[in-house]
């Protein structure tokens, strides 16, 4: 697979299918694994890092489940490629920096990705569309078992999987669910919801994971505790919480439609109108307006376009995607023009 092949491909997690996909964009599970005794990436020298990378690449090559994957060593990618992978959620922002002995393994469907030498030797992630953590777990669990046959993982009977940061020790698992909660934001209840989430020792983050802001009413909810509970217990806990948030968002949507219907309709239609007609648009404005259009689709107010296309627009209007589509470097102003063009094209064609 060539990285540019991904440009015309819609990632599995953007398909807008799966349970509760009107509110839940995607479900993701990641596992942190390390090789026993080898220094963790931040503490290893060039050779040690290379040895780890070689061992993992070799193991990946032997695993049937990972037959359809491609390994990209980050030293071989330019900064645009790296940003492109971050925008597609195939690797973390941090992985794109200081690229010595780092790699990312990606499957054609963009369901599985495996980062080598990020914070831990292995960061394996599986993404699914909609509210589907258990399906993601079933897939990742099998791949993890295969990897464990080929590699000696750092593991202790009492602490579990040993990770560079003690916040990941134990299962090494983080389950995350990406939620779209525009109605809770509009009626001003989101703060209470976020407060409740943090009190239950879960965290919320923005669209691009740790350290990113919540824009476009997107919130990523994940577990904070990874030791002392089994993987399925942790997933059940997240699921319980997510079900409640979905319920609250649905109630908020009903409230909006029964009490402020014309205001909501106005806001949604104006957003759609701007997107269909603008000739210059920033990334932030795009995210905010698309968020309203997405709500409009869920409420049945917009029928000309499906949520899968909107999901995709969120990604392909990001800076690196625009530049890859145009096949040249674009300044921020040029990007705003190109972005508006792509959006007009997509929305008016439907």
């Amino acid at each position: 697979m060539n990285l540019n092949d991904l440009l015309n491909h819609r990632s599995e997690w953007l398909k807008g299918t799966g349970p509760h996909s009107d509110i839940v964009i995607s479900s993701r599970i990641r596992l942190a694994r390390n090789l026993a005794s080898a220094p963790f990436p931040h503490w290893s020298n060039k050779k040690q890092g290379r040895d780890v990378l070689d061992a993992i690449e070799q193991a990946v090559g032997k695993i049937n489940y990972l037959k359809g994957t491609t390994i990209f060593e980050l030293a071989d990618l330019d900064s645009l490629d790296k940003q492109f992978l971050v925008e597609r959620h195939l690797m973390s922002y941090g992985h794109a920096h200081k690229t010595n002995s780092k790699a990312v393994v990606i499957d054609n469907e963009e369901i599985v990705s495996l980062m080598v030498n990020e914070e831990d030797h292995i960061r394996l992630q599986v993404m699914q569309s909609g509210f589907n953590l258990f399906e993601a777990w079933n897939i990742i669990n099998r791949i993890d078992d295969c990897l464990a046959k080929e590699l000696s993982f750092a593991f202790s009977l009492d602490y579990g999987y040993l990770t560079a940061c003690p916040t990941n020790t134990g299962t090494g698992m983080r389950g995350s669910v990406m939620l779209h909660l525009p109605a809770l934001v509009i009626i001003g209840q989101i703060k209470q919801v976020l407060n409740a989430i943090s009190k239950l020792s879960f965290t919320t983050r923005g669209l691009y994971g740790e350290g990113t802001e919540a824009t476009g009413n997107f919130f990523q909810v994940s577990n904070q505790v990874s030791l002392g509970h089994s993987e399925t217990e942790i997933i059940e806990n997240i699921n319980g919480l997510i079900r409640q948030i979905i319920e609250q968002e649905n109630q908020a949507r009903e409230t909006l439609m029964s009490k402020n219907k014309s205001v909501v309709e106005d806001k949604i239609s104006r957003s759609f109108g701007i997107l269909k007609n603008a000739h210059i648009i920033s990334s932030q404005e795009t995210t905010e307006l698309l968020s309203m259009v997405r709500l409009g689709i869920s409420l049945g107010l917009i029928k000309e376009i499906d949520s899968s296309s909107v999901n995709e627009l969120f990604i392909i209007t990001q800076p690196a995607h625009l530049q890859k589509l145009e096949n040249k470097k674009l300044s921020s102003q040029e990007r705003d023009v190109k972005r508006a063009e792509i959006i007009r094209d997509k929305l008016n064609k439907q």
Binding site: A148, Y159, L162, P166, E210, E213, V225, L227, S230
Partner: protein
């Protein structure tokens, strides 16, 4: 100077963020700064507070503790406090005394309850059975059921004979170095 976020109010709060040697400056008005700080509180995950947290555990044994060094990767406890990351899997054993309370603080537990690597699972099951038998034996003795106790003792002996020698990485956790 106007606020970078809203572009309306004058910026009164100046924030410098350094991520991987890249410095970004943010100039915010009071209102936007409040929002940003709320976000930061949420994002300021445990990882960032780790070093600080660890310090709370043992305020006294300063010097000795700081010089503690992992025999495998040479990371000192002082390094760990500074960077908030361990150097290798063996650091967990080297700093066990300080890490256990820290893990307890972060996760509310120090006992793994999840899956195991397939290779380790087999030997672990045997050890677990053995542990269970030992507990049973203790209970039988306490209850003065000596006949039962003798039976269990024989089972333990038989199991110990067939026991596969544990893998080195497991063994370390039972024997403090």
């Amino acid at each position: 100077m106007l606020c970078d976020v809203c572009g309306k109010n004058p910026a009164t709060v100046h924030l410098t963020e350094i991520i991987d040697d890249q410095m970004t400056e943010l100039h915010l008005c009071e209102e936007c700064a409040k929002q940003k700080s709320m976000q930061m509180e949420q994002q300021f995950g445990l990882a960032d507070l780790l070093a600080g947290l660890a310090e709370f555990e043992k305020p006294i044994e300063e010097k000795e503790t700081l010089l503690l060094k992992c025999p495998n990767c040479k990371l000192t406890y002082k390094d760990f406090k500074k960077i908030g990351r361990l150097g290798c899997s063996e650091c967990y054993e080297a700093f066990r005394k300080y890490l256990s309370p820290l893990l307890k603080r972060i996760h509310g537990s120090t006992a793994h309850a999840g899956k195991m690597p397939v290779k380790i699972a087999k030997t672990a099951k045997k050890r677990l059975d053995l542990q269970e038998l030992r507990v049973k034996l203790q209970k039988a003795i306490e209850a003065e059921q000596f006949e039962e106790a003798a039976k269990i003792r024989d089972q333990i002996k038989a199991q110990e004979k067939t026991q596969v020698p544990p893998q080195p990485e497991e063994e370390k956790h039972d024997e403090p170095q």
